[in-house]
């Protein structure tokens, strides 16, 4: 019996989720075993994702019909060029989980490790499911798996303050989930179908109606909340700063991207159902530009390094949304590449910051003066990450921001191009401020002077990721070439 590759796609979702169910069982004897088991599960998932990406390049998109029921009658999982985002996603988890092994000691009590690792796996499974599914209701459920595990992960280490940050996140997140459900209900009432391409086709066949536009709009608002787009970002800084660092890396680098993936899905839906969203594109551009500047501006005033990184996420989401809204091919491709690049850079930065905080017990720039002398390797990684996020040439951030800017200028939207440059300037200021504190000031706290480099299970992933920031930057063209064929399908929505 030959097994079709396409039918292994559901396992990308099932492996981490079933693994999560097994984690408490594995952890019964020894809490450490949970970490190892989780690592193995993420490794297998990542291997499968990479294998499927290779198949994708060789033979085109893979489609799995769960249960063997074809498209509108069953749930369809699509592994296409956008869905291939799951491969880097899984790889980041492979790097974050070993980091967490030692990080958890001293931050999270032992009896809650199993829950922590289970939540990480649930998060991974949900993220993959969200990226792959072509079914509206399935999308909602995968989103709920991600959200629920994220709320808990925010609160897992702290006491009351973390719970309050998590609850704020939960309330806004639930409203956004509710909007998604409402939109699904509306689309179902209009078309009688839940399959995305089928819904689009049936919407295109029917006469245009305000209800369909309302559905798409509420989907867009809901995903804007999940992506923390500027006026809806209020939940993000607290939640991301207060979570344990491996969790911050996952939340800031990967979980906010479900909002972006969702927005891309809305654009696909709009493009193929013929609902013109010209106003939508304009709005995305304006909000993106404002987010770039405001996020970077607010980050300047933060003394807490994790809070600073959290605001930088708001700014970077602005870049991606601006790129999507511009609608020029280069800009959209740049935005999609920036989804991966920002994930890479932000995971690097948060893990490096986590190492610094873990080794010194301090988290503000004032306290951390001179830490570059005692933790040279970690701070070098942090520096590389900072250079990358500013967007200086040999690094990953450069390529994507360059193409977004190129798209802005080629579309004749010069003002947005300048907003982009302006934002980069602010970013430059706050990272210079950070580097200045790290390298050019003398330590004021003895914790900094006494700090030693973290153990290899933490240092390894950080150094690997920092190197990846440069390597991806040097070979940057391949991501763009990979994503370009998918861009064409998205354009009609915005270009009108």
């Amino acid at each position: 019996m030959t097994i079709a590759w396409s039918q292994t796609v559901p396992y990308l979702v099932v492996l981490p989720l079933a693994g999560a169910a097994l984690v408490p069982i594995v952890a019964r004897r020894d809490a450490r075993a949970a970490g190892g088991f989780t690592f193995v599960v993420t490794l297998v998932t990542a291997a499968l994702a990479i294998a499927l990406t290779v198949r994708l390049v060789v033979e085109g998109p893979l489609t799995a019909h769960v249960g063997g029921w074809v498209a509108p009658y069953g749930i369809e999982l699509r592994f296409d060029r956008l869905g291939a985002w799951t491969a880097p996603l899984a790889v980041f988890f492979v790097l974050v989980v070993p980091f967490a092994w030692r990080y958890l000691e001293g931050t999270v009590p032992r009896d809650r490790w199993a829950a922590f690792y289970a939540l990480m796996l649930l998060n991974l499974g949900g993220l993959i499911g969200f990226s792959l599914t072509a079914d509206l209701f399935n999308l909602f459920l995968a989103m709920e798996v991600v959200s629920l595990s994220s709320y808990a992960l925010v609160a897992v280490a702290g006491r009351g303050t973390a719970a309050w940050a998590a609850l704020k996140y939960l309330l806004l997140g639930s409203v956004s989930s509710l909007l998604v459900l409402f939109a699904v209900a509306l689309l179902f009432a209009l078309t009688g179908s839940l399959n995305l391409p089928d819904v689009a086709a049936r919407l295109a066949a029917a006469e245009p109606s305000p209800a369909a536009t309302l559905a798409l709009a509420s989907l867009a608002v809901a995903f804007a909340v999940k992506a923390a787009l500027f006026p809806l970002h209020v939940w993000l800084p607290d939640a991301h700063a207060i979570a344990p660092s491996p969790v911050s890396a996952v939340l800031s680098g990967l979980v906010v991207k479900i909002g972006i993936v969702g927005l891309v899905r809305v654009m696909e839906l709009a493009a193929s159902s013929g609902i013109a969203l010209d106003l939508f594109g304009e709005l995305l551009m304006v909000l993106g530009a404002v987010a770039i500047v405001m996020g970077a501006f607010l980050a300047i005033f933060q003394d807490d390094i994790k809070l600073m990184l959290a605001y930088s996420t708001i700014s970077n989401i602005g870049y991606i949304v601006l790129g999507l809204g511009l609608g020029a091919p280069f800009a959209v491709a740049g935005a999609l590449v920036h989804v991966v690049n920002h994930a890479l850079i932000k995971v690097t930065l948060f893990l490096a910051a986590g190492s610094i905080i873990h080794q010194t017990g301090l988290r503000t720039l004032t306290d951390l003066r001179g830490v570059g002398r005692t933790l040279p390797q970690t701070c070098a990684a942090m520096t590389l990450g900072a250079i990358a996020i500013v967007g200086l040439p040999p690094t990953a951030g450069f390529i994507s921001k360059w193409y977004i800017g190129l798209g802005a200028f080629s579309a004749g939207r010069v003002a947005y191009g300048f907003a982009l440059v302006f934002g980069a300037l602010f970013v430059f200021i706050y990272y210079v401020r950070m580097l200045n504190a790290f390298y050019f000031r003398t330590p004021t706290r003895e914790e900094v002077a006494a700090a030693v480099e973290p153990p290899w299970s933490m240092r390894g992933p950080v150094l690997f990721l920092a190197a990846a920031c440069v390597i991806v930057g040097l070979l940057g063209g391949f991501l763009l070439a990979f994503i370009m064929p998918a861009v064409g399908d998205l354009l009609p929505a915005i270009r009108s």
Partner: protein, 247 residues
Amino acid sequence: MRWLGLALVVVAAATLMLGVADLPPHGAHDAPVHTHVGARYLERGVAETGMRNLVTAVLLVYRGFDTFLEVVVIFSALVAVVALPRGRAARSRDGDDQPPAALLTREGPAQERISVSPVVAFVVQLLGPFIAVFALASLYRGHVSPGGGFQSAAIFGALFIALALVQGRERAARLVPRGARVWLQALGPLSFALIGGVGWVLTGAFLGYPAEAAAYALREAMVVAVEIGIAVGGAVILAQLFMAMEG
């Protein structure tokens, strides 16, 4: 800030009205909802799945993957609640040591320890077996009448809560042995993954059920395994949620 909230409500109401006004009126049998996917399920569902209750058929067979994610969601709720620090310990640490009774009753400090009314205890114990039988029936007859795995889980969960209320949590907790809990709580996702894998081997598609007439018994067994997984897993999760929240 106050008027902003109210304005939000008004704007939401207006937008919703605008969108909803455009929908086809409900209840018409020729609306698009009733002529597309749902119509096919109604027409061929019984033949294709062998279930007379088509809601169960949709949940378990046509859209089984959704149900898989559903059990994962409730499992993650349990993990999330367990992952949080224990609240009661934190309270005493913060010096908030007032007896809760004094906080709670307006009428003044309540009595130290009030036992359950014997009437209530008797009635709950009287109804207990009925509830249990009813939950089992709901599971067993889920494919021909309303009910099914999750409803049964919820009824079992409610029964557990009632017993814990009148008999004390220690005695109720014995219904779910500590050693078995980690296995039972994971039963939902695991049974789906397992049966899904079996379906993958048999039919080539994850969560597929063999359609041949000869494989009828096998298909039944697979469905029953999933149902039991949902019911037992769900009930144990709800019971544990109750115990975790009770502190």
